[in-house]
Every structure is written in structure tokens, then in C-alpha cells.
Symmetry: C2
Subunit: 667 residues, 2 copies
Amino acid sequence: ETTTQDIEQLGINTVRILSADAVQKANSGHPGTPMALAPIGHILWSEYLKYNPKNPNWANRDRFILSNGHACMLQYSFLYLTGYDISLDDIKNFRQMNSKTAGHPEYGLAPGIDVTTGPLGQGFANGVGFAIAQKHLAARYNKPGFDLFDYKIYAICSDGDLMEGVASEAASIAGHLELGNLIYLYDDNHISIEGDTDITFNEDVAKRFEAYGWHVQTVDDGNDLKAITNAIRNAKIEISKPSIIKVRTQIGYGSPNKVNTAGAHGSPLGADEVKLVKEFFGFDPEKSFVVPDDVLKYYHEKGARGADLEAKWNDLFKAYKEKFPELAAEFELAFKGELPKNWDAKLPVFKGSDPKMATRQASGKVLNAIAASLPNLIGGSADLAPSTDTNLKEFTSFTPEQRDGRNFHFGIREHSMGSILNGMALTNGLIPFGATFLMFSEYMRPPIRLAAIMKIRPIFIYTHDSIGLGEDGTTHQPIEQLAALRVIPNITLIRPADANETAQAWRVAIEHKGGPVILIFTRQGLPILDQDKYTKATELEKGAYILSEASKTPDLILIATGSEVSLILEAQAKLEADGVSTRVVSMPSWELFEKQDAAYKEKVFPKAHKKRLAVEMASPMGWHKYVTDEGDILGMTTFGESAPAEELYKHFGFTVDNVVKKAKALL
Amino acid sequence: ETTTQDIEQLGINTVRILSADAVQKANSGHPGTPMALAPIGHILWSEYLKYNPKNPNWANRDRFILSNGHACMLQYSFLYLTGYDISLDDIKNFRQMNSKTAGHPEYGLAPGIDVTTGPLGQGFANGVGFAIAQKHLAARYNKPGFDLFDYKIYAICSDGDLMEGVASEAASIAGHLELGNLIYLYDDNHISIEGDTDITFNEDVAKRFEAYGWHVQTVDDGNDLKAITNAIRNAKIEISKPSIIKVRTQIGYGSPNKVNTAGAHGSPLGADEVKLVKEFFGFDPEKSFVVPDDVLKYYHEKGARGADLEAKWNDLFKAYKEKFPELAAEFELAFKGELPKNWDAKLPVFKGSDPKMATRQASGKVLNAIAASLPNLIGGSADLAPSTDTNLKEFTSFTPEQRDGRNFHFGIREHSMGSILNGMALTNGLIPFGATFLMFSEYMRPPIRLAAIMKIRPIFIYTHDSIGLGEDGTTHQPIEQLAALRVIPNITLIRPADANETAQAWRVAIEHKGGPVILIFTRQGLPILDQDKYTKATELEKGAYILSEASKTPDLILIATGSEVSLILEAQAKLEADGVSTRVVSMPSWELFEKQDAAYKEKVFPKAHKKRLAVEMASPMGWHKYVTDEGDILGMTTFGESAPAEELYKHFGFTVDNVVKKAKALL
């Protein structure tokens, strides 16, 4: 007679062999780690994880993150076995074109993948964002008797994850914020690509996490189901500290010749060795992709419990909706990614007669104007809230005591801020933003890219956007950052020219779907363009627009973004005075412009008018596309200098006279 | 009578007031931290640091790193006082155009600055590179009785430095490598820009560093000279562990209204408050930039000791040179940045008849061929030595036991690898390289940029350079990385087309000065271009060259880099067969090409021949400059996919047929 224990062990071994088979068939991938982690996966998907395979998007599901995404055959196996919309054929098509089962787990591609992972350390930090989001949703929506949001965040992470700085940053934040809803399992397998982890990694991981304020447990044997089960139970009980469970595993467990070697990590085991694995576990060595009926039934039953769980939750939500109709409606709207009606009613309009205003400052005014209408807009900065003007003044900070706080203090940890924002953005119902200086976007490019891949919409705010920041000098003055961000697929970068374009940039950012929005703001004050004199800033949504038309058919087109728009407007006046008919185009966003139809593009940049000068205090890379062979670019081709901004403008040629000179040289 | 103690305290207070004055005059900067750190600075420059102000480049000087570079008035003050080539006028010109005293300390601008700092965490990690370099130089050159290299690395770092992930990574490596030559002082001032550090940073820093294997001490009062002195003495004695000394300081010490507040951090104190500071320390509130004669004399005498120290060292080196002439000559050459004669004698030439070879593999062969001739070429990878082919097979690994090892295991810590390489590259006599996948260049952009700013030459090796890596998929396939690296000023990026261009790329990299070199290699095998049939790969040094000329005046110019060069060669054959006269340009490096004269550029890309197609499996950004308005670019405008490489080529159009089609469409 088959006991439950037998089935469990058979299930674990089935996953191991499925993983080895799939990697072998793909002739590419990572077999050893799923083989080591199958017992942990078994415990999670059969005992702890709260999920409904029929609705992977259930709001109160537990989140699962495979931070070591290369081990994805583990996840695909359990998703398939528990009844998600992943078939055995999908497993057989591992790593093939148009398959759901990509080489690393991809959000939106396979159901049940809560986040795209692969680049190490990211998943670890995304989990902190998920945990923050859960605490915040609970604080906003839960009511006595209505624990709408009580889910946990489970993750598996590797040595590599823990070596990456982004995970260190996130761990420190998680400990500080007392995120007791985090349950991380650390796959301590002692093996890295170059050999034993001891060649680079002999720090005391447990002590390090204790220093961060985590609850730390150790399991000596990754095959000890009881010990793992107990440790996870303890972790669930400990709700005031994030938990990490260090589990000593054996990479490639079951592979007689490759267990505990780097050889089991990143390549197929080899056809012969896979046969030996099957023999080791008592499977037929000649058959592949074998899933015993009992195993499938066992896990399907585990998965099927989720429908009941969700049904109960739906009842709870229904009752909640009757008692708290406004909150319920608010959540339902936000969950669908829709915005409250008239959310933008208070979007400010600034007057041309107002004094100069930095776009960072205008952004602060906009944020504070819309914050009340958008309860799900939350965010903060990497210790630069005053400088980036991102404090929501009428709201508190998110702390262990105040989970409803809407201002986040990420500390001087830009990279994990980005990854945490991704975790928050992946939680339906939230619009997260994060701010730092444009220069420090360089510290957080991996999460920006992942947001772009996942087509999720965190809002990244970058201020101090050029040499206009002045004295802080070379190390702080962005040069290549605009181009380096624009080149990322799926991003929308907006560099508004003044306070009114800033308001419109926020409108686009809030309404945007399908990728991150990057807002670029100045440190220095800028004139406010008179909305009665110039084309209205609402045109910003088209990416580029004729801000000030030439007196007659243009001899010249001047193009600029951000702070340089005022400069080319002044140059236009001079050029027109000198008889040069000059059009001024404000071009806050290349990406928005590229979405316009050909007729609109031709209207702004007529093919017949090739004398064009682009002016931007940044690397000229990419501008050739817009200025044509007969145009020119006034940009920055070197690093900056430490000096007051006005002197830098003179030094680098960002003066009206120089723009006029460069423009005339084209004629 | 003035006692030494009086002078010391007067010196400390002079530095505090100089700092406050300079920031006030610049109307920009960070006064509070130098005011807090003046006692530490005093102890370092008067007692511990081994330096000669008359030769800031002395090989055996102690290194000093101000990781919190914004506190640079501390460093400028002591450099001025001890007799470096920095005058009181330079101090008065703090943060002004063309001044040595930039807003953050800049290597090469002011004497005595060992490394440019500003972006937080970098200096911390650079120090680990300095420490590795010292250990390595000592292992290679020191002999019994000849401790040529016994210097220490001192650094001051801030809360912000310790929050940054890059510092966590570097700290773990330093502990692992037992770098007992590191002495770090942690400025524990409890203040960040958003308020008390407690709002984000309440981890147990001491315990964390113990977990990394560091020697940790605490000083409760940053004004307690004796306690600081003792702690540094203890740190010097502890030679098997890196040391960190946590010093509780008071930001803005001496400013009655701003001490211990964020208000003392990043803005001038205000003219009235500066007067109060002067009163607090017994200075005349009406006078600025006052340096008492006794103080100047005192520090000048401290600085002058350095000339004796260096003279003694020079004698030691002279004796060493007599006894070990070859080693001495080797070091002298390397110290000057020159290369051994015939270093490139063994640079391989690959045959067109050889089987396909990935450029990563060719690179491995080249590295191993030249390693013996270049004893100062050292490096490693971020746990990808086998995949990046960067192991120096005839040499050992750098470990606590083997400091002469030339292979470095950085662990899965790309960011700190970059910063550590910078520290190594700043140590005259070494040529460091570091490798990972091109995708993970994203984790290490801040140090790449700093290397470019400093014009130092680490060699960054990035393999797996396109969708050609295949199944690992979207998260691992570079798209925007080439453009995002090319846009950094002062870098030289080379993407060779085959094994022979790879050898030439290494030649350029080894001989290059004035900025980092970035080598881009494939995972997949590439045909070796027959050196008898095509233009020789030695032309790579020009950045772009006519690899295969058209049969007559070209109708078309095909341009490619790296793996796509073979593709356009095949397309050329088809086009020529179809009667389209086609030139093929291999363009491995935009930056090397831009250095050529106008005549050469015109030769390769004649203005009259505007029908040009660039082919690169990467973002098209930047290529418009080379293809003209009448050309086209076959690039990648989306993220990749997980599938075998050959299928990806078809899917994204990197086939001979599609190149031919795109090319013909231009005619």
C-alpha cells in the first residue's frame, strides 16, 4: 500500500527527474538546483503556500519568488503538478521559442510567476517590496473581522543572491521595517560556478542576518522534510521579524557523479547521468518526463484546495463590501489598475508670471496636489526627500508602527529602492514611486530594466538632471544618463521643460501602462512658459510639439528638452530678430513621440526641413536620428566640472549666443 | 606657553573653521562632516599616515580614501596644512571653475587625492582594491630585509557608504581575503538628509562586520583623541583582519544651532552661524580663512617627515635594485605604466581554416598566451571564470595564503568587482581585469564611470554579448548595454569580430592609456576570418576598417561589429552575386574610429556613399550617426526571447536573406 509519505517522496523525486529531463531535452539549463530544492518546493506547494492555480492573480494569495531564477524547472514543475495552466508539453518545451517555460521565470509569460527573476539579488529585494505592499494594503483595507490581506511572501534564494549588494541593502531595510511577513529559504549548497563557495564566501551569513534584525534558523539537511516544515512553521509564527532559514542542500542530489559539484549547476547532466539519476530514485531509466498518476493526483488535490480558499475570501470581500462600500470600491478600482474619476482635478496650472521654479519643486507641488485623490500613490526616496521634493506632506511615513504611512525612507540604498518599487508595482492596487538624483540611476539599472521587461509601471523620479546642479561637480553631473535610460526598451522617459510640462508629465506617468515611467527634473529654477503665449503643455503627451512656431516657413528648427527649452526660446527671439525664421520644438519624451503617427511626426519635423539643432545638456547620442545629416547637436561630450551653474553654462556653450551661432552655422 | 596639546586642538579647530569658511564662501557644500571629522583627520595626518607632500605618487605611501567625498574640505584642509601643492587660495576657491578643490575630491586634479569619490560606497570598495594591490605587490617584490611595500590603506566612510550594497559586497570580500592592511573609520553621526539615521538604518553595524570577519572597535566620542589614537593603533596591530572603527561623531560640532542636525550636512551654515562657530572655538568671528602660524608650522613639520621617509625608502629600493636587478627593473617599468619589450610576441594568430571559435574562447587563449610576458596583468571574474574564459591557467589564485596569485575570485559581486578593479588600477604597476556577462555590466556602472572620470585603465571583459547566448532568455540577453556603455565619455569599447580581432583588441587594451577598456565577447562560436583573404585584423586599432572591398565603386556599405561581421560578409557575397557592389566595414570600436583623422574617416565612410546598413544585435541607438539619413540599421528594438540562438536569429531577422533584403531596400 502506498502511504502519504511514499507519495510525497515520489512527488519530490518526480520533480527532480522532470527537471533533469527538461534540461537534458533543452540541452541547456540548470538541473542541479531544482534537484536539491525539490523537498522545499514540495513543502511549500503542498503545505504552506496559499494559492489558487485557477486564478494566479488572486489578491490575497501568498507570493512566491524564486530569486535564483535559473532553478526555474523547480517552479515550472510544481506549477504544472498543482494545476496551473502549464502542461507537460510546456515542460518538454523548456527554453524553446514561444514556450511559457523560458530559461528564467518570466512574469506574464507563465501563470503563477509573481515576478521575473534571473539577475541575482533582485528577487530577494522584490520580496521586500511585496512585503511592504502587503503590510500597506492590510493597514488601509483590513478591518476588525476582515483580514482581507494576510498573505505571506515566500522566497528561495541562493548564495549568489546573498552575495549581491542589492540583497544586503534590502535585508537591512526589511529588518528595519520589521517585515515579519517575509519567509526566505536560503539554499546553502556550498557550490558556485568557480567551485566551492568557500573560495569567496565564508562570511557568517546567520550572524549577518541577525545583525539586520532577522529571525534566523538553520536546517542541516535539505532532505529533512520535518525539519524544513518546522522551520517554516516557526517563521510563520515570528511576525515581528523577517525570517531566513538556512538550509544545507546538495546540488544535483540523486546524480551519482555530479552531486555536490559545479558540474550539476549550469549544464545538462548528460543523457547517461540522467539515467543514473532515474535509477537512483527507482524510476525507469529509459523513460523520460514520467509523472506517476498518484503524484499528479496528489498535487492536483493540493492545488484544488486553493479554489475553496479563494471562494471563502471572495465571500469575505463581499461582506466587507457591504460594510465598507467606499473602501471596497476604491480597492476594486485600484486592483484593476484604473484611476478614480477626476483624479487630476487638482493638477496645478502655473502662471507665466510666477517666479522661476525648478521642475523638482513643481513636481513636489503636483505630487502633493494629487496625493489626496490617489490613495494608492505611495513612495519615497533614497535619503533625498527634501532634495527631490518627494515628501507627501499631509501623510505620515511607513514605519513598523504606521503601516498606512505613504512616505518611504529607503535610506542610501538606490539599488534596492528600485527592486523594492518593482515588488510594490507588482502588487495590484499600488502606484509606487521612488526618487534620487539622476546620477544615482546608475546604481539601480537592473531593477529599471526588469520593470521594463515585466511592463510594470513604477515611477522613477530623477532630479539634479544636468550640469545645472552646479558645484557638486563631475561625479554628480549627469552626462550619459539620459541616453543610457532612453535606450532601454519599454521605458518612457520624460524631461519636462517647466512647471506646467511637469504637471503634464505626472499626468502621463499616472495614466501610463506597459512599462516604467522615468521623470527627469532640474535642481535649478526655470522660467514658467506662459500658457497663453506658447502652445499648451498638455501637448506634452505627444512627446514633442511645436512650442513656438516660426514667423514664416522655418529656416531652422531648434529642438530641446527640459531646462534647455527656455534657452532655445531665447535663441529663437534673437534669430527671428536677425531674420532667421525659427521653429522651437519642445521634445520632453522621445518614446511618446515615437508612438505618434507619421503625419504628426512629419508635421513637427518635416522631411523638407533638415536644418535642425538639438540642444540638451547631455550626451548627444541618439539625437542624430532627429537632427538629420544637415543638423547639429549642442550636447555634452565630456564629463562636467565643479563650478557654479552659470559658469558651467558659459564654459560648455549653453548660452543664447552660442545656440544662435551654432544654428546660423547650419544655414 | 603653548603646549603640543594646545596646538593640536588649535589645528583641529582651524580645520573646522576653514571648512565652514570655504563652504560659506562657495555658498555650496558640506560643512558639518569635516567639522565632526577634524580630530580623526588630525590624528591620521599628524600621526599615522605615511606620506610625502612633495611626492604624492610615492609608491610606498599609505593610501587615504575619503569615501564620503562630500566631506572633502577635511581632506583639502590637511593637504594644504601638511604642505601639498594646495594653497590657501585654492581653499578659498573651493568649488569654483578650474580650481583644484572640486566639490568632491578628484584624482588627478588635486595632489594627494588617491581616488575620486562622491558616489557613496565606492571609496569603501576602492580601498579593498588598494589593499589587494598592496598585498600582491608585497608578495611579488618584497624580499627578506626588503619590505618595499608595507603600506596601509586608511579610509573614512559614512552611514551612507555602509548602507550601499557595493560596500557590503566589498566588506565580505575583504573579510574573506583577510585584508589586515585595511583601517576604516566609520563616521557614525546618526544624521542623514531625511533626518536621524534611525529612520532607515538601525542594523547592528558592528555585528554585521564581525560576521564578515572584520576586527571591529568602537569609539564613543569623536573628540576623544586618545581613544581614536588607541583604536587606530590596535587596528594596525591586527594584521589578519580588516579593521573598522566605529566613531560616534557630532555633525557640525562647534555650530551652536546646527550641531547634530541635518542642517549641518549639505548647505552652508550661514554667515551668522559661522561667526558663532568661530566664537565657540575662540577665533575672531570677523575674520575668515585664518590659519595660525603655529598651526601651519606644526602640520608642515608633520608633512616634512615624509621626505625623510621616502628618502629612506629610496635607499632601500636602491639596495634592492643591486640585489634583485630584474625584479627592480620590472617594477620600475610597470610603475611608469610601460610594458616589457616584446610583451606581445606570443599574441596568437588564428587561421581561417580553424574551426569556429567564440571570441570569449579566443580571449582566453590570448590571455594565457600573454600572461607570462606581463607579470603585472592580474584579474578574475564575478564567479564566471569558466564561462568568461578568464582563468590564467599557469597561475594560482589570490588567497590569504597566496598573495602572489594572479587569479581573483570576486564572487557574485559584480559591483564591488568593478570598484575593486579601480583600486587596483590606481596602484601603479598593475593591469587589472575583471569579467562577467555583458548583462551584468548593469550592476557595475558606477565604477565604470568613475574609471572613465579618473582616466584609469582597468580592463572590463563582458561575454555573452547578445541574443546569441540563446536559451537563458530575456533577462540575460543584452540589448541596450552596448549603447549604454559607448555613451560614457572616455571609455573605449571593442567588440571584435573573430579570434584575430580579439587578439588585436587585447593588444589595444594592454597598450591603452586614459580610460577603461571594455572588451565584448561572444558566447557562441564564430568563423575565423582568413587573414590572407581579408584585411588584416591589425587594422582593428583604427576602430573601423574596410574588411572586404566592393568589386567596384560601392553601391552599398555594410557595417557590423562582433558576431554580425561574418553575417554581413555572407550577405556581401550574395549582394555581389546579384550585381550590387558592396563594401564591408568591420567596426569593432566607435571610440577608436572617432580618434582617426578626417581623411581616414572619409576613406571608410565616403560622404558620397550614403547607402549604408549597420547590423548589430543590439539597440540601434547611436548608429544613425554612421548610416546617414539614407541608410538603415538592423538592430534589436525589443527585449530578446528564451530559445536556441539559431531560432532567435531567424526570429529577429539576423539572417543573410534579411540583411540582403534590408540592404537592397536602400537602393
